[in-house]
Symmetry: C2
Subunit: 447 residues, 2 copies
Amino acid sequence: MSNPRQLVLNLFIYPGGHHEAAWRYKGSSAERILDITYYQELAQRAEASKFDAIFFADGPALADNVRFAQRFRFEPITWLAAIAAVTKRIGLIATASTTYTEPYNLARLFASLDHLSKGRAGWNIVTTSAPQAAQNFGLPEHPPHHERYERAREYLDVISRLWDSWEDDALVNDPASGVFAETSKIHTLDHVGKHFRVRGPLNISRTPQGRPVYVQAGSSDDGRAFAARFAEAIFTAHQTLDSAKAFYADIKRQARSFDRGPDEIKILPGISPFIGSTQAEADRLQEEFNELIQPEYSLTQLRQMIGVDLTGYDLDGPVPRHLIDTASARGVASRFKLVVDIVDREKPTIRQLVQRLAGARGHWVIAGTPEKIADNIQAWFEGGAADGFNVMPPWLPGGFDVFAEQVVPILRKRGLFREGYTGTTLREHYGLARPASIYSNQVKAIA
Amino acid sequence: MSNPRQLVLNLFIYPGGHHEAAWRYKGSSAERILDITYYQELAQRAEASKFDAIFFADGPALADNVRFAQRFRFEPITWLAAIAAVTKRIGLIATASTTYTEPYNLARLFASLDHLSKGRAGWNIVTTSAPQAAQNFGLPEHPPHHERYERAREYLDVISRLWDSWEDDALVNDPASGVFAETSKIHTLDHVGKHFRVRGPLNISRTPQGRPVYVQAGSSDDGRAFAARFAEAIFTAHQTLDSAKAFYADIKRQARSFDRGPDEIKILPGISPFIGSTQAEADRLQEEFNELIQPEYSLTQLRQMIGVDLTGYDLDGPVPRHLIDTASARGVASRFKLVVDIVDREKPTIRQLVQRLAGARGHWVIAGTPEKIADNIQAWFEGGAADGFNVMPPWLPGGFDVFAEQVVPILRKRGLFREGYTGTTLREHYGLARPASIYSNQVKAIA
C-alpha cells in the first residue's frame, strides 16, 4: 500500500559523524574532514538515496573544547556551493546566524546559493547560542536570548523583502531592446527599524525558489513562537515519542494563529541510529563508540548544556541533581530541559548521562535492527510526532550507508518514502509552495 | 629562447563581457548570465590555457543604472566555490569589501574557499566606492575615502591574524591519542582597535596557502600606500605605457619602504583586446560594439567617474572641460584622473569619450592583430610597466577564445607564458612564498 503522505529525510552531516567520539572509530574518515570531496561524496550518496536535503550546522566561534574533538567549522554556504556543483537534486541547507551577520550580506550569499544550485537552498536560522561569538564581533557581551530573537524577527522581515525586491519578471535581459531590467519591478525596502536600516534593493534577481526554505531549530518559548511564524521546517531534539508529540502539537497549533496550515511546517526530529542485524549487535556497536568517549571532553559538553561543571565527581556515582537548577541554565534552553528530564526519568550515573548525550548532543539515539529503526520512524511519523527526520549517523560515511541500504528500503516498501525525486527544488521535495514576492502588484519601485 | 620571467595572466570575468554593450552583441551568451555552468565553462577554458586565475569584481549594492546594462552581482565567493569543484589548478580571486563585512565572517568565507579549492583563493581587497552601499548597512553615509582606508588597514591586521591563529601544526587529528588540536598552537588575537574588537581564534585550521593571495585595486594615494604594504598583486587601469610605467615604478619603490622586494608584488594592468586578422577587421569589430552602446547608460557611467552629468549636451560636440574639476571627483579617484587625462590629451567629443570608456570602464582597450596585441603585452611586460595582465575580453565567451587561441600561442613561442602549470596553488602560479603564521614560535595560546 502506498501512503500519500511521505517522510522528509535529511542527512545532517557532522565531519566525522554525530557521536562525539566518531572520529576515533575505526570506520570513520577522520583524515578527510577538510577534504571537500569527502562531503561531495556524502551528498552524492544521500542524493542516490533520494534524500530531501543535506544539512550543516554552524557557529561563528571556536569551541573551547577543541582539544579532544573535531570542533572546527568550515563556512557552510561556500561548502554547499562546492557540493551543488557535483549534485543535481538534493537540497542544501546551511545554518547562519541572525545575530552575527548583516542581512544584506547574508541575503546575497543565499541568493547566490539558490541561483547556482537552481533552487536547492535552505537556511537554518539561528540566533547563535555560544556566548564567545560576541567577542569575535566587537560586542561587549552576547545579547540575551530574548533580544536575539527580537533582532531575528526584524532580520527576517528585512531579508525576506530583500529576496523579494526583484519581482520575478523584473529581469528582462533583452539584447534587442537594450532593456536589462524593468526597474519599475525592482523595489527599495527603505527599512528603518530598531536593529537595521536597509534601503535595498538586492543586487541580484529573484532566485528559483523565491527565497531559501526557512528552517529553524530553537525550542525555547521564543524559538517556538518564531518557528511557528517563519519556519517551513523545524529541526528539533526529542528523547521520547511523548516529548516529540507535545512539541509537534504545540507548533502546529501556534502556526494556526499565524494563519498557517499544518502542512506548511515540516517538523523533523533528529535521529541517530546504531544499526545491527540483531539488537545485541547494535548494542555492541553503540558500546564500542562509548568506549572511545573522552570524559575530559564530555564533561565540557555537559557543562555547556546544564551550566554546571561535574569535573572531579565520581563518574560512576549519581548525577548531583541538586546542583542543577534553571537559574544556571545558559545557552540552548531546550537542551537544558532535555538533560534534566533524562536525569529525573532515568537516574543515571554521570558516566551513563555522558554516554547518553555523546550520541548526538542530546538528539534521539536508538540502537536496533533495521526493522526496529523503521518501526520507530513510522510510529513517530504516523503518531503525530514528526513529518520526517534529520538523520544523524553516529559515524560517517559508514553509518549513513547502513541506514541507506537497510532502513530506507523498508520505509520505501511501506510506502513512506519516495522511490525517486518528483521535483527539482528543495521546496518541491518538501511539498512547499513557492512564495510570491510581497511586492507583486505594488506600485512603489526604484524608478 | 625561453624567458625565465613569466607573464601572469588572469581572466577577469564580467557576465556578458567587459564592453558595456557586450550583452547585446550577437556572439554573447546573455541568456546564460545566471547559469553557473556558463562560468564553470569559462573557468575551464582559462584553465585549459594555463591562466593563473579567474577574477570577479563585486559590490554590495545595486547599481542605479541597471535598466540598460547587466549590472547585477552574484556573490563571488560562493560562485567561485562552485567553480572550484569543476577545476583543479586555476586560481580563484573574489572581490570583497573591508567597509561592509565583518573580519571574522570574511575570514571564514575565504578560509573555506582556500580549503575547498586546495589553495587557490585570492582576495581582491576593496573599500567599496559606491556610496549607495552605506544605505544597505545602516550607515548614515558612506565613510570618506581616508576613513575607509584607515578601517581597511586595521581590518587587514585583524584578518591576517585570524588566518594565522592556528599554526600549521595545530591540527593533530589523531584518533589514537584522542587529540584533535594542539591548543597551545591555537592563538587568540585579543585585538582591540578603533574599528574592531576581535578575540579569535578562527574556528578552522590554517589553510593550504596560509592566507588567500592579497590583491588590491585602488590607485589613489591611500590606495597605493595600502597596496605597497599589503598587496601581493595589483589590478590597475592605464591607458598608456607611460602611465603604467610611472605607476609600476612608484609601487615598487613604496614597497621597498615596507621591506618588500619587487617580486613580492605583481602589477597587473587590465587589457581589453579587440582582435582581428587585420587591423581593419579589429577596428570594424570594435565599431560593431560601439554601435550597440546606449548613451542613456554611458552617461550615467561617465557621471560616476567624473561627478558631472553631461545628459542634454550634444553627443557630437566637445566635452565641456570647464565643468570637470577635481572638487567634484567622487568615487574612484584614479578613474577621475584617467578620464581627465584622456580629455586633455585627445580632445574627444562626448560620444568619442563615451566610446573610449565603454570598452572596459576605463581600462586599456586595444584593437589589432594577434601579433600587435602580443607585441604590446611584451612591450609593457619588458618595459617596466607590468608583471602580467588582467585580460578583460570585450565579450564572453568568444572574446576570450580568440585571445586564448591566437594571442597566447604567440606569447608562449616568445617564452613569455607557461606551457603548463608547475604548481597547484595560486601562490605557486604567481611565484609568491607561502607566509608563515605570525604566531609561529610565540608563546601565547588559548590553553
